[in-house]
Each structure stands twice: as C-alpha cells, then as structure tokens.
Symmetry: none
Subunit: 329 residues, 4 copies
Amino acid sequence: MEYRRMGATGLQLSALSYGSWVTFHKQVDEGLADELMDIAYDHGINFFDNAEVYALGESERLMGRVLRRKHWDRTSYTVSSKAFFGWRGKANKPNQTGLSRKHLTEACHEALQRLQTDYLDLYFCHRPDKNVPIAEVVQTMNTLIQQGKILYWGTSEWSGVEIMEAHRVAADYRLIGPSVEQPQYNLLEREKVEKEYAMIYKTVGMGTTIWSPLASGLLTGKYNNGIPDGSRLALEGFDWLRDKLIADDKLAKVRALGDVARELGTSQATLAIAWCIRNPNVTTAILGATRKEQLLQNLEALDVLPKLTPEVMQRIDDVMGTAPKMPDF
Amino acid sequence: MEYRRMGATGLQLSALSYGSWVTFHKQVDEGLADELMDIAYDHGINFFDNAEVYALGESERLMGRVLRRKHWDRTSYTVSSKAFFGWRGKANKPNQTGLSRKHLTEACHEALQRLQTDYLDLYFCHRPDKNVPIAEVVQTMNTLIQQGKILYWGTSEWSGVEIMEAHRVAADYRLIGPSVEQPQYNLLEREKVEKEYAMIYKTVGMGTTIWSPLASGLLTGKYNNGIPDGSRLALEGFDWLRDKLIADDKLAKVRALGDVARELGTSQATLAIAWCIRNPNVTTAILGATRKEQLLQNLEALDVLPKLTPEVMQRIDDVMGTAPKMPDF
Amino acid sequence: MEYRRMGATGLQLSALSYGSWVTFHKQVDEGLADELMDIAYDHGINFFDNAEVYALGESERLMGRVLRRKHWDRTSYTVSSKAFFGWRGKANKPNQTGLSRKHLTEACHEALQRLQTDYLDLYFCHRPDKNVPIAEVVQTMNTLIQQGKILYWGTSEWSGVEIMEAHRVAADYRLIGPSVEQPQYNLLEREKVEKEYAMIYKTVGMGTTIWSPLASGLLTGKYNNGIPDGSRLALEGFDWLRDKLIADDKLAKVRALGDVARELGTSQATLAIAWCIRNPNVTTAILGATRKEQLLQNLEALDVLPKLTPEVMQRIDDVMGTAPKMPDF
Amino acid sequence: MEYRRMGATGLQLSALSYGSWVTFHKQVDEGLADELMDIAYDHGINFFDNAEVYALGESERLMGRVLRRKHWDRTSYTVSSKAFFGWRGKANKPNQTGLSRKHLTEACHEALQRLQTDYLDLYFCHRPDKNVPIAEVVQTMNTLIQQGKILYWGTSEWSGVEIMEAHRVAADYRLIGPSVEQPQYNLLEREKVEKEYAMIYKTVGMGTTIWSPLASGLLTGKYNNGIPDGSRLALEGFDWLRDKLIADDKLAKVRALGDVARELGTSQATLAIAWCIRNPNVTTAILGATRKEQLLQNLEALDVLPKLTPEVMQRIDDVMGTAPKMPDF
C-alpha cells in the first residue's frame, strides 16, 4: 500500500481507503462487513470513512461493532464521520441537522458513541450550510479539536469559495482551518478537483478523500448495456442519479475506456480507480465495494498505477474528453 | 411553530419559548410544570429559559427534574441559565454573585447540576457587572465554550455600549463574543430593542430572547380596573414594578390596544405577543404562562402574526405612542 | 487657562476653546474674527474648531486667513475640521458628502487648503453615515494619520454603539480608533455625555469637545422673555431649533438657574459654561461668542469653576431636573 | 442616473459607466472622445474606466488630456486604471508586466502620469498572476492606499478562489483586501457573476464593474447576419473572440431576445444593458460606445430597468437558456 500525507498535514492515509456508505446495513450485513474490513485492513488500508446519515446511523453502528470486535490497535487506522443531514431522516427537528455549533457538537458526540471510539481522526461537514456563518463552523471544529474529540476536520462538496471563506475566518481568528475535502472525483467528474480547487492545494494546502471513483459503478462498464435491477444505481433514492447519468451520453466514452484497460491488461474499474490516485492532489480514493472479489479487484489499482505514463494519461484524456479547460490566466 | 436563527448564529429557536422565571416553585408546582412543559414541547417550543436566581435555584431544580422525566432527546431542545444574582439570596457572600471568572464558572457548574444536563445551550450574564472587566467576562465565557459546558453565551439587560465593549474585547483577543441579548421588550418598552441596539444586529449580529412580552401582565388588560391581590404584580418583591407601572398612565393606551385586538378577532394578550415576534430582530419571545389555558392562548400568537400588516402595525403605533424616535443620522 | 488631556491621548486642550461655527462669514466678518481669535489666544485658548460645512467652506477660509496673518507658532495651537455634509450645499454630488474613503480623503485635502495648514490636529466625522461600513471609516482615518495629514480623529454626534463599533474594528485591524467625540452638552442635554457614553471614558478612553454649552443661547437667559429678531435662534435655518426649544417648558428651569448664578456672583451664561467643564469627562467646551464682551464673559467660567462645590452641583440638579436617571446595573 | 455603493464600500458609482477600452485612440479620436465623455458626465456617469494596456497607454493619455481640459471637479467623478499586461506590447521586459510589487507600483505611477491625476479612485489587477504570491499583491495594494495613490483596489477576471485567497491574506495581515471585481458579464456569460461569486457578495462584500454587457456587440443583434468588416469583433487582435462567439450557436438565442425587446418597446442593446444592472450585485455596467447615438441609446437602459419585472426576467431566462444551475447546497 502507498501512504500519502493528507494535503499540508502530517497525517498519512492509504492511497486507497474504504467507505461503508449506505451499503453497510442495507446491502452489506455484519458478517460480510467483517470480512470486507479484514481484507481492507490486511491490504494496508488505514482509513475507514463514515457519516451520520449513512443508513441513518446504522452504518456507523455496524462499523463500530466490527471495529470493536477486531481489537485492531486504534493507532493503526483512522476513522471519520460527517455531520449535516442528521440521522433521524424525516423526524429531524431544528438543530438536528446542519452545521450549527449545536448540531456539529451533538452529532460528534453521537458519532463517537455509535463508532465506539474516543475520537474521530477526521470529521467532515457533509455539505455547506448557507444558514450558518462559516465562522461558527470553523470555531466549533477548532473547539472539538481542542477538546480532543476530533483530530482533523474537513469539508465535503463545498465550493472552492466556501473552503476559502473557512480559511479566511481561520486566519482571522487564528484557528485551525479545514485540511481536507471529500469531493466526488472520477473520469466523468473532474472540474472541481482539477480546476476549481487547483489553487487551494498550493496556498493553504488541502488533501482530498475522493468518493465515487467509479461514478457509482458507471465506470466499471457494467451499465454499458443498461442499468439492471439490484445494482446500486437502481436502489431506492438514486433515481436522480440514474436519470442524470443516462441523460448524458457518457456510456460511449466509458466503452472506449474499456479498450484502454484491455491494452493495459487490467479491468476497466481498476483502471478508473488507478487514474484517480494518479492525481497527486488526491490523498485517497474511497472504495465502496460490497463484494470480496470486487474489493480485491479494486485494490489492484496500486499495481496499475506505474503503467499510467504521461502518454497513457493523454490517451485517456483524448478518449474521455472530460479534462477541464483551464483558465488562460 | 416558526423557527428562527438566533442572530448571526446557526442555532434555531422557536419564535415562542417558555421560561420558568420565578413562577416555577412559587406559583407553579411540579405537576403543573410538567403539564405546561408538555404543552410547550408538543407545540414545537424548543427553548426553555432559566436562571440561577429564579426562586433561588428551585426553578432550575424543578425544570431539571421535569426534563429528566420526559426523556426528550437532548438534541431536540435548548435550555439556558443565567448568572449574576447568585441563588443564596441575602446569604450571598463575595464571589457568589457577579461576573467574575470564579462566579461565572462556579455558577455554570451549579446550573448544570440543578438542570441535570452536561451542557447549557445558552448561558447569560444576567446583568452587567461594573466591578468586573468585560475582558474577564468574555474570556471566561469563551473558556466555558471551549470546555463544552456551554454552546452560546449572551447578555441580559446590558446597554448597547456594554455589549459592544464585549465585542471589542472578543475581536481584540480573538474570542467568541456574545451572540444573544435577553432584554425586556413589549409594546410599552421599545427603546432598547428598536433604537439602542439597532446597529448591533447589522454589524456583529445579535439575537434576542425577549422577556416580559406582556409587560408583567399589564398588556393583557387584566389590570385595567386596578391590580388584584394574587396577581404576579402583587407578589412580594414586585412593589417597585407595580409602582412604576401605575405611575405611568399607560392603562389608557392598553385599553385602546384592546380595541385593535377585538377587531383582529383575538385577545389583547395574544396580540401583544404576536406584536413582539413581528419584529425580525426578536428571535424568540419567552412566555411565562402559569396556567394551561393561558399558555394555549399565548401560543395563538403565531396565528395572529400574519394579520399584522403594515397598516395594523401603524395603527398600533398610533394607539400606543411608544415607538422610539429614531436619530436623524 | 486650564489644560486637559483629551481622553486617553497625550494631547492637551484648553478647557475652553473657540469655534467659528456658522457665525464666521455670516455674523462675524474678518476684522471681528481677527479680534475674537486674538482674545481667545491671549487667554490661553489653544483649540480652534471648524468644519467643511460651516458657512459652506467660508468659515474655514476665513479662519485660515486669520491664522496665516497671526503668525502664531503652529505648535502653540490646535485646529480641527469635520467632514460629512460637504461644502457645496445643494450642489453636492455622490461622493462629495458622507464618510466614504473618497470623501474623507478629499475633504481632508480641501480643508487643509482652506485652512492653509499642512495638517489638522483633529479631524472629525461630523455625523455617522449608515451607508458606509465603519471599518472603511476607521481604515481611512488611520491612513490619514499615517500620511501625516491629521494627528487625531474623532466623531461628532455618534451614538455610543457606533463609537464602540469603531473601536471594535480598530482593535480587530490594529488601527488607531477615534479618541474624541464632539457632542452637544449643556444643562438641558445631559443624557449622551453623562449616561450613554459613561463606560467609554473608562474602557477605551474618550475625550469630548462639547458644543452648545449654552444651548444655542437659551441658557444665557436672553430668551426668557421670548426670542428676539437678530439672535442666532432667529437666523435662517434654525427654525427647527427654536420650535424644539420653545416647545419644551425649559424656560422656567432656566430662570431658576439665574437665581443660582446671582448667588454665586456670576452671570447665568458663565455659570452654564463652568458647569459643563466641571464634568471631568469634558475635555473642552467650545465657545461660539460673536462679540468681544461676550467672549470675555464666557472666559470667566474658569474663575467660577472652584465655586461649583458638590452642594452647588446638587442644587443645580434639583433646580434643572435634567440629570439622567442612571441604570440600576 | 442611479448611484450604487460599490459592494461593501462607501463609494458610490453610477449604475452605468464609461470605459475607453481599446476604442480610444484606435476607433475614437480626441475630438469624439471629448464629446462622448461630455455626454456621459452630463448624464450623471461618474466612473471612467481605463487600463495601462488599452491602446498601449494611449487610451489613458487621451482620457487624461480630455479630463484636464474639462476642469470637472476631481471629487465629482472616479477614474480607474489596471495593471498586468504592461503597455509596451511585445517590448515588455521582465517586471514590466504581472503583479509583482515592482510592476504594480511602477504601473500605478505611470498611470497617474498618463491620466494627469494625483490618485486613482480604483486600481485593478487586470488578471491573476500565478507567478506572484497573492500576499505580495495584497501588501502592495494596501501600501498604495496608505500612500494615497489609490483609494480602492480590485481584481479583474480572477476566480472566486483567487479573490478569497486575497481576502484570507488581508485578514491574516490585517490589510485592506480587494473590494471590487471587473468580470465579463452579460446575457451569454453569467456563471461567474451569478454562481461562482455568489457567496463573496455576502461574506466579505464585493462590488462589480462589469465589462462587455453587450458581449462585444453580439447582443445588439448586429451580427445576426454575420460579422461585418470594421466592427470591433473584426478588429485585429480579436480573432479569438470571434471564433469563440461564432462557434457557439448563440445567435438564435440573441434573435429571440430581440422579440422581447420589441415588446418592451426598446432596442435589443438597451435591454441587454438594463438586464445587467438589474442584478443587485452589479455595481455598474461599463459602456464602451464609440458613437454618440449609440451612447445615448445605451443610457436609455435606466428607463428600461423598471420594466424588468420578475415575469419579464423569467421570460428572458427561458429564451436565452443561460441561467446557471445553482448548487443544491
């Protein structure tokens, strides 16, 4: 496994990591989760990603039970949570969602309980909250660090301007700003990570724990012939995603990517993941595999990485046509 | 119920809230308190106001027992305390009152015990303390936030200059300043909230949890024919208030307000409360009802709110003659 | 002459000072101005007050010519200007009034030219400007100090909250905040200076260069029998003031003050001025006398000062009934 | 004319302003420039925009001569310059372009000479400079303000992240950050102004002096039948722009906009300009008219403004299909 400093911090994360997402509890039962996490840990993965909203708290509870059972040295891995959506679904009341000091603080306490740990290594604001001053968010995250409840904090799906506003406030108040962002990033969604955030890596420093390296499975090639029932894209609540994806004529590009994979002697999925971590501004790509063989295949991305020469990367750019147009200035 | 952000914070408070004030323990026994808080919570009230001095600590103890019994989710409501007057009455010794770091810290610990909670959502300086540097107050409150014992802090009955001095110190030391003030505010007492504080809402941001929306009952119209024994105004310790109120010839105005209420098809009390929360700088009006039907009537203010058109508001201004004269510049 | 430090600064101003106000150019011609300023200077007055708007620039031009002619050592006196109203009257265009960086900067340059000096000792914001962030005002005033164009800056007729917002910003940005306020202050108008500003003298420190110590002449007793034509109150543009004053039944109080003056063996005007500078938070009272004998009489206030014992001060409070009610806390 | 505060500053700019761009010297000779600026000033325009690179310095020299001749009160208008591209064209040597302290300082001095003024009201960084730390830019601009050579500074065509990096540095060092951005903005180019910058208006405050309200003339409808020789789009140096515009099938949309204009009883160009200043985050739209009748027609946009009801705005959105998709969070 390759380990990378998370942006400008001293924390080292494995280049591939594992997220329970909504699959835990819904698709992955406790026995399977146990096995998958074993595989991940044994392959050197040291970052397990979670959030309050995943399976409405059950994803964290399940991961908490597995982690407790493993008796892995707490210092040998990192675990995250994220607050914003709440975990009570439609029963959420005011202050049980969002980024107010009250919810961020209470959600942290709840996540610690569910994950059965004393501190989170990473704590994310799962989305921006237009109704809460970013100053309150930065103050609260800094306080949680001071209290020893979290070690680093980050954002997820924030705009570049929002991240910089957090850094402005942090500079202004002399507080610890966000050090990591969790964006979607894959061969079909490059704009934010490659263009919008470009300056942030260099100025204040920022790591990325990217999600959906396979574009919800689209890049594996498995939807080349349509979306089958039972796939994650067909799961309840993801109609919007399906619509969005089908609407685009991305499938043709994805098929062409398959040709490149074959030439490199790997699978399309493995290539797609390797491509993500080829970007030095990606700290880690979070895998969401729900089957053992799938996870093992994903892990082969590390072996494909050396094959991604500048020429191959250029060819992928040509095939996909998704490289963002960079500004003249 | 309508929920409002408390000034420039992300915290949401219900536009109507409930305070135990001196009535808990003195006028309201535990059974009745239990019922009143049920009504409040079921109607969506999420802020319960208290203070160390109310019934000399008994008001907090009673509320603490009720809250423990309810098993309401701690994240679904907010609870406050206030320090300044101490809770030992005439037995208060030096450092058992005021705003020194010693008393603010110890009073916080005592309130947490009485209220049987791990943290206060709001913690108020119940009055300014001319003998304590405001820097010490701001530092202490910030420390209590860092310690996780309180989430937000505020002031009560401070002058605009005193509040701004706290913000100046907070800016100087990069600490968390006060985010809420608890002033008296009602149709007879408008100067501070509408004129003196006007700029503070816009610059540093400030919420208000206003008390005495009914002017100690005067605005209900029940004293139109004199002050009866047994009313709160006649209770021991409130002679000054009675004197003050009677001294003014406010009763005539109050009677005219009754006419407006009748035309709107509501009670005078309900109108007076609705009028308070019509002001966007009011986060919440604290109700102090001591009887069930009274509380239910007060809660109807939310229904009256939409009827307070600019024309009706102007008419109330004309009738009451209490609108502050705003400065030319 | 008695000299006082201006608030928390090291600058010393004479307890009585002289202002040209609108009288220069309108009531006082250049020859008379020359004589009046001679008397003032010879009696130890070291502060001459002015503003861009006084006589639409002519007041500064006249004072500038007189000062140039005198050849007094520039270090022996201080001179002020004030910006806000502009000097073009109805011809003022956007950015030619108010407190934007553009107007404050340009108005300073213009005042330096009119007054024929290289720097202003004091530069005032003549009123608050609700359309300009106070941060911009503080930054600009600080810049003008850095450029050597002004030495100290202050406010005039700002509320306590506005002054404290300036100090908050100054603390935040580490800039030089306002050190002096020019409020109206006299036996009929005590609220702001004695109550609203009370804390500011102690925390950030503030001097006051008070205007209208005689309440536009009302306190001299000359209007006891009605307002004669030719008096300043009858001048064009001051109808509002006359109305305001007559509306109040202040004349009776003023007459009673005359009795106290007689007992102390002084004139009513002299007593009223002495009373102002008896307040230690008053740095200087600006005299606006337009006749020589009047100015000489005003200057006798320094001799009356020692006669203002606590008992006499109490008696004046009783007679006038204008002492502000101080807050309980 | 309508005047607007420039973002969070106190400066007031006319909602329509006039820019010499490359037209001065190239298309507009000194006599015509004289007439055009007379029309602009007489209609209340108080902002004249310029840059070192426009016509390689000649645009500023020409405007400087015209302004000197007019003897307009310097306080009655504002004038800008911009540095980045240098004014020596291909002869530019290192440090004669870009945003280093050396070039920003020297370019400012040169612009003051060419424009024959003591200070610029606005000074822009004409583009971001990836080779200069933004801290150096902010420090230099702040220094120029302290020196009295400029009053406000801004950026042009910077990304939201770059602007926020400037504010982060300004907060960190307690310097004056940028207060205005000059972006392209028109019915065909909305993304940056409406989406990318959205948060900046609210947090740190930002005005915009938008350029190309007519999309280089495309929105006037004059290219509906192809691009004629002699039009600005055909001028040397603008091939890229022509290509870019033609490449897009924007002409159809533009023709549909013409229908809306006819219904409102105005010209397509006037409507397009009015649409720009309908956005409250636009401080001023810079007109670049090169003929008198054209300028007079543009100025009619102020009369069209009231006709842009929410319904009309919606219809324009529908017709153009250029409204940016706002983020879900």
